[in-house]
Point group: C2
Chain length 458, copies 2
């Protein structure tokens, strides 16, 4: 009997220790997260840094002078923050230049109506005078195929595939439609089209053409491709419905130059106990050149650096190594992400997690996590964030730049902010600093830092 009582006592003591440790851990988590949020909301560096990146540097497509200025600027930020290490990773990047402002109109019986267009990224130029040809409207590749060479040859193909507003999450609508931006030129060229004009990838009805990458197939002739604003697309579509003969004219002078030298920028805080295990927090430095790359992805860049600043400023413990990676060339080549993975493999690095923030500087909703163990661990902690306005943890996630790392990293993680306004700005002249809300940006940095806090001491 005595023995049993002793055993019971031991068990009670063990349970008490277990629960008090667990309670302490909880308290420590919630206190740390409160500290992170307080610092982020009252004393963040994100907003002024984004201001500098947008206004003093501006658009920064790979291979451009601004791209190099951006490398220099964020590298300087890493130096100023006295991180344990910071360095550049050389990356060879494509160098495409838009050239003069594009011109376009449609023409019915000699009457011209101007519409807003922009060249798609990677497109070839038209001739100097532009091209003018009968325009034919299609809505998907099946229609294009059904029309065939007989109906397509010598024409400009107008791909009018709207993003579907019925999707609640706008990235799902983008995912469904973006293939038409990428591949209409190569598909239409097969049937002898002389150019393509693609409806802009946005749910808004406005006058902003949205650029973005398109791709050629080396076995098929290259034809010029542009994007038309959604208002322009509606007008053009109505004109085609009401008239048997509509011609489309566009002129663009974009040009591809030889590959250029650029860099990923990396800053690091060494882990205390497991320094060989790396957690990447990254965004991409390059941006399309119509706007200022504010949401895409200046926001992600300043947030990634801010995570390390918050750890240092608040003196937060991190067993694992934290590495901010500012990738080059997400928009038109992904060379930075590919190079990062190559070097990680070559150097036999051990990546515990890689988090990408590249969905805009909007209010946080949650994270998508590729690894089921880490997903489970974070999902169990999600209650900690409910009062901060987010707690949605999904299994599955990542990001374009960290994608290539998937075989060399335990978990790929995508930061998921609210997506409703993203495609109002994405790849347009409206992606400017003024359209980023200070608090939303800072709440995002706090959410990512809090996640990293849970990951780096797990």
């Amino acid at each position: 009997m005595k023995n049993i009582i002793l055993r019971m006592k031991k068990l009670i003591i063990l349970l008490a220790i277990f629960f008090s440790r667990s309670a302490n851990a909880q308290q420590s988590d919630s206190l740390t997260i409160a500290k992170i949020y307080n610092q982020s909301l009252t004393n963040s560096e994100c907003y002024p840094r984004l201001n500098y990146l947008c206004k003093n540097i501006g658009p920064r497509l790979s291979g451009s002078l601004n791209g190099e200025k951006a490398v220099e600027y964020v590298n300087q930020l890493c130096v100023e923050q006295k991180l344990d290490t910071n360095f550049l990773q050389p990356v060879t990047v494509p160098h495409w230049v838009r050239g003069e402002k594009e011109q376009a109109y449609y023409k019915i019986n000699g009457k011209k109506s101007a519409v807003a267009i922009c060249a798609l990224g990677g497109s070839i130029a038209t001739s100097k005078k532009g091209i003018c040809a009968p325009v034919i409207e299609v809505h998907d590749f099946d229609e294009l195929k059904a029309l065939g060479r007989e109906k397509i040859e010598g024409k400009i193909v107008f791909m009018n595939h709207p993003m579907k507003s019925s999707f609640v999450h706008t990235f799902d609508a983008y995912g469904e439609a973006a293939g038409f931006r990428w591949a209409t030129a190569q598909n239409a060229a097969k049937y002898g089209a002389v150019g393509v004009v693609v409806r802009s990838m946005t749910l808004a009805l406005d006058n902003n053409p949205h650029t973005g990458a398109m791709g050629y197939n080396d076995t098929i002739i290259k034809i010029p491709a542009c994007a038309i604003s959604t208002i322009g697309a509606e007008e053009l579509s109505a004109a085609i419905k009401n008239n048997s003969q509509v011609e489309f004219y566009f002129r663009q002078s974009c040009e591809k130059f030889p590959d250029a030298q650029s860099y990923n920028v990396i800053g690091e805080l060494k882990g205390d106990e497991k320094p060989e295990e790396i957690i990447v927090i990254g965004g991409h430095l390059d941006s399309w050149e119509l706007g200022e790359g504010a949401h895409d992805d200046g926001a992600g860049c300043v947030q990634s650096i801010e995570v390390l600043r918050l750890f240092k400023t608040l003196n937060l413990k991190h067993e694992r190594t934290l590495r901010a990676v500012l990738f080059m060339n997400e928009e038109n080549g992904l060379r930075g992400g590919i190079k990062y993975d190559e070097l990680a493999e070559q150097n036999n690095e051990n990546h515990y997690a890689a988090i990408e923030t590249d969905a805009g500087g909007f209010v946080p909703r949650g994270f998508g996590i590729s690894d089921s163990t880490i997903y489970k661990y974070i999902n169990e902690k999600a209650y900690l964030f409910r009062n901060y306005g987010w707690d949605k943890i999904d299994l599955g996630g990542g990001g374009a730049d960290i994608g290539p790392l998937k075989n060399n990293c335990k978990a790929l993680i995508g930061y998921v902010p609210d997506s409703q306004r993203y495609f109002d700005y994405h790849h347009t002249e409206n992606d400017i600093f003024e359209n980023v809300n200070e608090r939303e940006l800072h709440l995002g940095a706090a959410a990512i830092t809090s996640l990293v806090w849970l990951l780096c001491n797990e």
Copy 2:
């Protein structure tokens, strides 16, 4: 034994019926919610109606001609929708007019620096020439009291109490600070102040003064009160720190007229099975006159009517009666809400729930519910909304207009959209149609309609 087997069989059948009913209910809920969202996102009337309210009518303070135009417009919408009933409730409202654009500067050694101000709602005018007096800065009422008559008399009091950015939810920050807008004039007048200038209620640092209601105490002399932009407040505070003698000048010509006749607008769809049990969905028609009352509360008005339109268009079953109520005079008197409650009591009406949407046309986060039984019921259904981007159900909630109804209604419910940008626009010239995102507005209408669906057949 046979008996036992028979009983077991019965039990199994009963369980099967129970679970299949429960599964059917779940499926029916999720299918209905999917329908509501699809209709809201692809075919909503909210956005064009808000456009009309903002651009063709505009600001609509109680007692103004625009206020009456707004009454007429939303009443017409109810008529067009062929609701079962629609009617006006006469309400006597205050009639305050801002007058000419306000002027202000601070003066150091004769050098004047202009700052952006606006009269607070309900304030008296200054003299025609304006008033100029030494300015003294305080941060709260304790400081005011400590300075006392000796330091305050003959001066203009500058209440520089910033909203605290450390609050995650901006309404908490507003709640902490808004009392200084309301009561600085009456508190400062006690000590002989001749005017007050109050820091605007916003977390943004910008040049927009924010108006809003202030109140006098009938036993204390009335002095004029204005709001200064946050940039102006920072400048004025710095000037006071650096100089022993700073004067402040402001001129405003606002005026109070006799009470005017106005109306609450009501539209109704009778319930099928419990028509005597009413569910109110409401917002307020009146708005401050610096902007267009887009977020505050044009959004809530068009959403409230949209709920009924969606029920009718989608032919959704509703056991209880649905009543859209467009309240008049939330901003400076709450007379519409008070009158509605008076009449509900007088007519012995049975209100099951009243939902207010008056926190802006932003993306949905959840609802606050005052009644614990209904809270529990909705909270158990919250999982249905997770994939639509919201599921936060809090115990406790309501709204200004429905507040007076609290003793005559089972549950007061507040719609809670994301709050981060609300105080960037609130009560300023920036509260315009262009600052409402179409999808965010429509997602809000879908969320409210979905909640009403669960409530009206519970």
